[in-house]
């Protein structure tokens, strides 16, 4: 179960397909019982935005995502983990980020994907700039304290309250 496993990490401008990415993770395997995916999408904030522009630190972005993914694999004994983050201009309704976690039982898959998202938000070097509906740049999205709190809860919890099969 805890063979050293390599997460799939990608930073790309193209979109991704959930089913194809899940298939890559589960192909030929009959020991995976649960797969959780998280997709983060661009919202238009009630029509105020025409796009988000995602900037990243090439090299470091992949390295941080890999570090976070490996922490999650270790902590939740995952059987597979994929993290894909897009960059460039992204329109409302489009995908920004995908995390997939696979495990024998469901709670570890939920926790693994949730953990990766919380750390990715606060430590992977990506920045969002808003483009107004009118077209001009509206400025950079400020970091949220709520994201720090979401990350910090993982240092308080030693084990999850319930573990279903």
């Amino acid at each position: 179960m805890t063979m050293s496993l390599t997460p799939t990490i990608r930073v790309q401008s193209e979109d991704f397909d959930l089913q194809k990415e899940v298939d890559k993770l589960t192909a030929g395997r009959t020991d995976i019982g649960a797969v959780v995916t998280f997709s983060g999408l661009c919202r238009d904030e009630g029509g105020a935005l025409s796009a988000l522009e995602l900037e990243h630190y090439p090299g470091m972005a992949e390295a941080e995502m890999r570090r976070i993914a490996e922490l999650a694999i270790e902590r939740f004994s995952l059987q597979g983990l994929t993290a894909i983050h897009r960059y460039g201009k992204i329109a409302p309704g489009e995908n920004i980020v995908l995390v997939i976690a696979a495990s024998p039982h469901r709670q570890a898959a939920f926790d693994g994907a949730n953990f990766v998202m919380d750390f990715l938000k606060t430590s992977a070097p990506f920045w969002k700039k808003e483009h107004a509906a009118s077209g001009e740049a509206r400025g950079w999205v400020p970091a949220k304290d709520a994201d720090d709190s979401a990350r910090d809860r993982w240092s308080k919890i030693t084990e999850s309250p319930a573990r279903g099969g």
Binding site: M60, A63, E64, K121, P125, V141
Partner: protein, 85 residues
């Protein structure tokens, strides 16, 4: 000490450049020293780095605290708090 500096998001925009090579004086030992030194290089540096407590720094593509030494750094990234995901 010669080092490559790379800038992102509004730090990059305020400095109006994505990267540069700098020769740092011997007195620059920590990340905080580096930020203080940069602020002496011109008004755009002062503006970009004025709120030092929110400025994040990575040494050789790894997050670093402001009190960490920069010895051995080939590349130093300077940027605002991250907002990806």
């Amino acid at each position: 000490m010669k080092v490559k500096l790379v800038y992102f998001a509004w730090v990059r925009e305020r400095l109006d450049k994505p990267e540069e090579e700098l020769d740092l004086p011997e007195t620059v030992v920590t990340v905080a020293d580096l930020l203080a030194h940069l602020k002496t290089l011109g008004e755009e540096y002062e503006t970009a780095l004025q709120h030092e407590n929110v400025i994040r720094v990575a040494i050789n593509q790894e997050h670093a605290e402001h009190d960490e030494p920069i010895a051995g750094a080939r590349e130093i990234g300077i940027f605002p708090p991250m907002t990806g995901g």
